[in-house]
Symmetry: C2
Subunit: 475 residues, 2 copies
């Protein structure tokens, strides 16, 4: 058992321990309304589901235990200022973008960014300059972001206000961010990093270096993804003077609930404390668990290949490349035996481990054997087309977001969409990375690729994806 | 024990019951990392803290259990479409405002609205037209919004795109919303209601009528405030065609986390189920509990007056007017004996009850006697100045939000601030309602009132409130 130092969590325990008579919100009254009789499991967390009463501070004007908890996180992660986020990395990306640019400003951004980055650019009315990562044979994906490509964009768009990148990618792949930071800072621009998948890099040792270590000016991390915080709990770190802490604070108080969830905030406090007390023994246990898991997955070569994991990779991510079937089909086979993957894409399947062993290797072995039997029986898979879509190295949108706001829209069938300008992004989810951007002219390649993904069973957040796509009218 | 029908909650229970091997986020792996050994109370909710795996649907593209849960809520609340919110009523207000207006559009809005409404107007770049409520002797506050004042604003600003009101106010006070809806719809404008404090009105009986019943086109309700949902969980309801459900959905997916919290969503499902199974017996138990509490508070006439509660009032809210001391001082005396109020303002103290008795009257009696002894001992309170600030009946800002974005700012001491234009709102919290608006010219009355509140011990979310206020430079 860890020796915790979590001031916000402690304050919540003290608060409920005092047996307060609540004449305040929330209406469940620490779980006494409804839950303690009906759902005792739920009730235990509701004892922490407090509000801004004396002693519990205020996220939007912290000066007590929340400030203390944020400061402890800042110290651990090496930032100048750390903010607790209760609306996910989404709100961190939105707030950072709004804080560095205004209507019409150019911003250099990685093409395969998360949709929240695009949403931030749209909210700000910015003019994005998209840089595409290049193909990397080690990952068999377009995962490589280079200093040269960022430099090219900076030269072409020297008035840009910021550079926004994703590090690592969804599969845990990193790149030489230090070299990029050096180029970006040469132009005295802020480098903003969506490090949604990299909070655990702070543990060092077997992990790649963190974005802050590499020189980023501001970083957002999903504490819930790879460290043990509750879903929707994230950290936002600022370091140095290129990003205004005041502006970030302003936009966070605009975009985050004025009744932030205490269990979520406490889980951020606890996750930091957990990582702070990480030991060599914890690391060794994790390394040997990963080794066992990888050995096990390597036993099924006729069904999939496990991609190797090098120093640029997060060792907690395992990528399988299925043979003669799509990632979606393999995912289904896994799921039917109670092995639940993180994400399938056309040609790969992503599995994510936690920071501790959370299941027995024996149990996994049993379930994988069942998957094997199933796949053997069904073995008449067609060869899967593994086209990956490629994007122009540097690209801008056809129109500004503010102009687009004034245009009427219509839904057209896919076959009639080529050449039109999309008024909605097309986003398979996960990973939540747009294939077609809002404001992008739809190409034949887009059209074909979306059809292929639909056939293979990809999920989209677009309501009318089967029928067609929303485009602007009257061009 | 209630007979629950909560499809999303059920799906979460089924999911964990299947003992999945999680190769996905969140990193706590249903609480198995860290919590089950260290914090078993926390762990029970983490078994619900899932992600968008098969069977658990997707808030941003619902077609399974989340859709079913939202539809059930829509049916119960009488909307055409109901959205689950995981970023509070804040995000509902932002999304509604962004969906009804664009840069430069006039919007009629109640002066004493919640800061999230102002933030929404700023994000949209709208031009707010503020209407002040008038003084009401029954509440001793500026709480009365009338059809005549809204009509006057509509006549003066006929190009407005929407009317946004707060119903009920923080103290549970309502007004004739039906008459206002009729005037607003005469202009074919949407009426948007921040019903943060009114979710329980749906229970009918002892409660005032709901905003949807009164004719509102879209409504946001904090399910956590007065019904038993988790903090930060809210409902957004749309009825009729004046508000575009598509646009609301678009802005919600922009502004809410792409990893929404399942415990929060499940609590929305459960809160609806709880209210749906509300019986006459529940109502009677509540009425008799309220009666006992009111009788008890009426026994301390030399220390405070309990304001009467009529048909326009939420019976779950009790307002005390302290004698010879401020609301803040009385709040402190209560808190020192473990009776925790919802909010103090200069001349009043607000207490909020839940939908069930959650403490014993005997225990409250004991603690109130302790408060009484304490107050008797300390009885040398000065008479408290109870100036309330009044605002112009109809008011606009000095400059547009987009122009303000281009101006530099400085902090000036309060005595030098009169006549300058505020670049930050001044917001005592709770209730989170601005005294000075961003873009408003600071008056002597503002200055004096803020000083009075600081002296009396009000809390503000403004970091530099003691020193001064942020204003625009170079006017």
């Amino acid at each position: 058992m860890k020796n915790l130092h979590a001031p916000l969590y402690d304050a919540l325990m003290t608060n409920i321990g005092q047996d307060p008579i609540s004449f305040h919100v929330p209406g469940h009254k620490y779980g006494r309304v409804f839950y303690n009789a009906s759902l005792p499991g739920f009730q235990s967390v509701l004892e922490m589901d407090a509000t801004e009463v004396t002693g519990l501070d205020d996220l939007h004007a912290p000066e007590g235990v929340i400030k203390e908890a944020q400061d402890k996180a800042g110290e651990f992660f090496g930032s100048d200022e750390t903010f607790f986020l209760v609306n996910g990395t989404t709100v961190g990306n939105l707030a950072l973008i709004l804080s560095v640019c205004q209507q019409g400003d150019q911003v250099i951004v990685q093409r395969n960014c998360h949709k929240s980055v695009l949403n931030g650019l749209e909210l700000a009315g910015a003019s994005p300059v998209f840089v595409s990562p290049s193909y990397e044979s080690e990952t068999n994906r377009y995962s490589k972001v280079t200093a040269a490509s960022i430099e090219a964009a900076l030269k072409k768009y020297p008035d840009s206000k910021a550079v926004i990148l994703t590090y690592p990618d969804y599969f845990g792949r990193t790149f030489d961010l230090g070299a990029i930071a050096e180029r970006v800072h040469h132009y005295d621009l802020p480098l903003l990093i969506d490090e949604a998948h990299g909070v655990q890099f702070q543990l060092g040792g077997l992990f790649p270096s963190t974005a802050l270590e590499a020189g980023a000016d501001a970083v957002v991390q999903s504490a819930h993804k790879m460290s043990p915080a509750m879903t929707m709990a994230s950290y936002l770190h600022v370091k140095g003077k290129r990003v205004s802490v005041d502006r970030v604070r302003h936009y966070l108080q605009m975009l985050q609930s004025s009744s932030p969830s205490y269990p979520l905030m406490a889980s951020l406090d606890l996750a930091r404390s957990y990582m702070e007390t990480w030991t060599k023994a914890d690391e060794e246990r994790l390394i040997s668990f990963i080794k066992e898991i990888r050995e096990l997955f390597n036993n099924y070569e006729s069904f999939w290949t496990l991609l190797p994991s090098g120093p640029l990779d997060d060792p907690l991510k395992l990528t399988l490349e299925p043979e003669e079937m799509s990632g979606y089909a393999l995912s289904e086979a896994f799921e039917s035996e109670g092995i639940i993957p993180e994400m399938a894409v056309s040609h790969q399947l992503l599995l994510v481990l936690g920071l501790e062993p959370t299941f027995s290797i024996e149990e996994l072995k049993t379930r994988l054997s069942a998957v094997e039997s199933k796949l053997k029986k069904e073995k008449n898979h067609a060869t899967i087309k593994q086209d990956q879509i490629s994007f122009p190295p540097i690209q801008t949108l056809e129109w500004s977001y503010s102009y687009m706001q004034t245009l009427p829209e219509e839904i057209v069938g896919w076959e009639r969409s080529v050449g039109r300008i999309a008024s909605e992004a097309v986003i398979p989810y996960p990973p939540g990375i747009p294939l077609i951007l809002k404001g992008e002219r739809i190409s034949k390649q887009h059209y074909k690729y979306v059809q292929l993904l639909i056939e293979q069973g990809a999920r989209f957040q677009n309501a009318t994806i089967e029928k067609g796509i929303r485009v602007f009218k009257g061009e």
